[in-house]
């Protein structure tokens, strides 16, 4: 058994990043995720593992520092919350275009605009549909516990490097701020080899120069690059879909919820079943790639789906696409920093879905 600790989600992800052998963190403070950089600063990762820690002058600078570090093959990450992630979008688009692996943590708060500092899940569209300009996707992991905050730091780096694509942990203010028991994995060594043919290490006499760029002024080449990216996203959809099912075996209705909403829905499942309603919960762990195949299968035998999100209804669109008209799909959710209670979700379930 690994080391057990009581930690905040934001602290757990920071500790896990060090243990996952991260080479660099570049960030900028914003509530509710400032503990990430604060924890790292206290830990002095340059002493523990040699990891670089730098507070940038802005979110924009931070993501571009990540771009620079990643272009050399180093394992780099940044974290922020919604308005800060909006600022990072240009850099994220460049990272995706230049096919650079990195890890981005979004501890979502209510929006739009400066919004509120309370938890929200309203950045689903931004995270899963691209966010910046151009055709691209991030690998999006949605933790619903402090344990997963830690585990996904490692998984996020691994998937990012496997596909040479930015990975995002889409968390929220609940998961970032709450304290839970977490089992930490062992310290891994930082990368020592930078031999892949895209990594900028300095041109030696025995090889051609390397260029990391997202630019190609030749449209035929740019289209080819786009097609290659799409291939990559298809491969992710084929190989990397992750989800959890709770009480779905005999379910007549299924709630689809991720992150903190999924935790709330777990209680709702229990309460609904006490009332005699056969409800299950499907928790997408990867939001991109989305578990659309599984939802399509379930759509053949259930009476309806309820997408429960702390937003005005974003993931519900992906559930509808997966269900493709085969059965009823509804949304329930509070927004702007409000968190639904299990009872409220149950009311929503009864009102919108159960006949």
């Amino acid at each position: 058994m690994g080391e057990l600790k009581l930690m905040k989600g934001n602290e757990a992800v920071a500790e896990a990043a060090i243990r996952a052998g991260a080479d660099a963190y570049f960030g900028y403070p914003i509530t509710p995720q400032s503990e990430v950089m604060e924890y790292l600063a206290l830990q002095q990762p340059h002493k523990r593992t040699g990891m670089v820690l730098l507070q940038a002058e802005s979110e924009i600078a931070a993501i571009n520092m990540v771009y620079g570090a990643a272009s050399t093959g180093k394992r780099a990450m940044t974290s922020s919350s919604s308005p800060g992630i909006s600022l990072k979008q240009e850099g994220i688009s460049y990272l995706a275009g230049a096919e650079l692996p990195c890890l981005i943590l979004n501890v979502v708060r209510g929006g739009p605009g400066l919004g509120t500092i309370q938890p929200s899940q309203a950045d689903y569209f931004q995270s899963t549909k691209g966010g910046g300009h151009g055709d691209y996707h991030l690998i999006v992991l949605a933790p619903s516990s402090v344990q997963e905050m830690a585990d996904f730091a490692k998984l996020g780096f691994e998937l990012a490097e496997k596909y040479r694509n930015p990975a995002m942990i889409l968390s929220d203010g609940v998961i970032g701020q709450m304290m839970e028991k977490v089992e930490l994995f062992e310290q891994q060594p930082r990368k020592s080899e930078f031999n892949e043919d895209w990594m900028l290490t300095g041109k030696t006499a025995d090889r051609k120069k390397r260029v990391v760029t997202s630019l190609d002024l030749e449209p035929t080449k740019m289209e080819k690059h786009n097609l290659a990216l799409i291939e990559k996203y298809r491969a992710m959809e084929e190989n990397e879909v992750r989800y959890e099912e709770i009480a779905c075996e005999d379910a007549e209705y299924i709630m689809v919820a991720y992150g903190s909403s999924a935790r709330i829905c777990q209680k709702t499942v229990q309460m609904a079943r006490e009332d005699g309603i056969k409800v299950g919960l499907l928790r997408p762990i990867t939001l991109f790639p989305f578990p659309k195949k599984r939802i399509a299968e379930l759509a053949n035998r259930v009476k309806g789906f309820l997408s429960v999100e702390m937003s005005s209804g974003q993931m519900v669109e992906d559930v509808k696409l997966a269900v493709n008209g085969k059965t009823k799909v509804e949304h329930y959710g509070r927004m702007g920093g409000m968190i639904h209670s299990p009872e409220q979700v149950l009311c929503g379930l009864n009102e919108f879905l159960v006949d």
Binding site: I60, M65, Y67, S71, A98, L200, K203, T204, V212, T213
Partner: protein
């Protein structure tokens, strides 16, 4: 003496550096970028640091600098070159890192990154090419466009009442504690070219000694944007740009240079 007798390997005194690629430069005829590219690569060749140097191209005419410089390079979002370079340098402190940026990139959209990189004293080199105009997008007004100077977005001349003043950013950042070396040069005459090369060499040597940020500004021409011949543009530059952007060192070895 016959020309062919002179053209012998033992008589060679000047040739194109091998640190440039064979690609034909994409710049307009007479553009100073070509000279600045060459000087940068000559310094890298002379110091023998091709395998230890990582460059960052920016957005603007020099976006394709990586096609011409035969070293490992990346290309940064508009204005963010010094942030990208910071990321590289922090991870590879023993590599030589430089950015290559124009005035639109460095002094408008990237002002914050420029100032904070210098203020932190990141141990890297900023090569700043100032031609007072947005070249690549077709000659729009830049943060450095002179008062009264015409551009496609100031077609009647820059009216400072309306459009604000040009910014002298090298002078600004020279005053920051992290800036170790700040100089302004040009490449329009042989003597100036040689001085610029000396400045670039000094900047790379500073980096070797971990001295902090060096910024080498080169006031250059944009004959297409200024709508002149290359020779005319160099003359115009001397008459109009140099009074506003005087050549010379601003800070050397961490000490401000006294203005006479």
């Amino acid at each position: 003496m016959d020309i062919q007798e002179i053209i012998q390997p033992e008589n060679l005194v000047y040739e194109r550096t091998q640190c440039l690629t064979d690609a034909t430069l994409s710049y307009c005829p007479g553009c100073g970028h070509g000279v600045i590219h060459r000087l940068t690569m000559e310094v890298i060749e002379e110091m023998g640091i091709q395998q230890d140097t990582l460059g960052v191209a920016s957005v603007g005419c020099s976006v394709l600098a990586y096609d011409f410089m035969n070293i490992d390079m990346t290309q940064a979002p508009h204005g963010r070159a010094t942030a990208v370079a910071t990321g590289i340098k922090r991870c590879w402190p023993n590599k030589f890192v430089f950015t290559y940026q124009g005035d639109g990139d460095l002094a408008a959209i990237g002002t914050a990154e420029t100032i904070h990189t210098c203020n932190r004293g990141e141990n890297l080199l900023i090569i700043f090419v100032n031609n007072g105009i947005y070249g690549m997008t077709g000659g729009q007004m830049a943060p450095t466009t002179l008062p009264g100077m015409k551009s496609s977005t100031s077609p009647y001349g820059r009216d400072v009442e309306l459009m604000g003043n040009p910014i002298n950013i090298t002078d600004m950042v020279s005053r920051l504690p992290g800036t170790y070396f700040a100089t302004r040069q040009s490449v329009h005459k042989p003597g100036n070219v040689r001085k610029t090369k000396k400045a670039l060499r000094m900047a790379f040597e500073n980096q070797k000694l971990n001295k902090g940020t060096s910024i080498v500004e080169i006031v250059s021409n944009c004959n297409s944007g200024w709508k002149m011949t290359p020779a005319e543009s160099n003359k115009w530059m001397e008459e109009h740009m140099f009074p506003f952007y005087p050549l010379g060192d601003m800070k050397v070895n961490g000490e401000m240079v006294e203005k006479k």
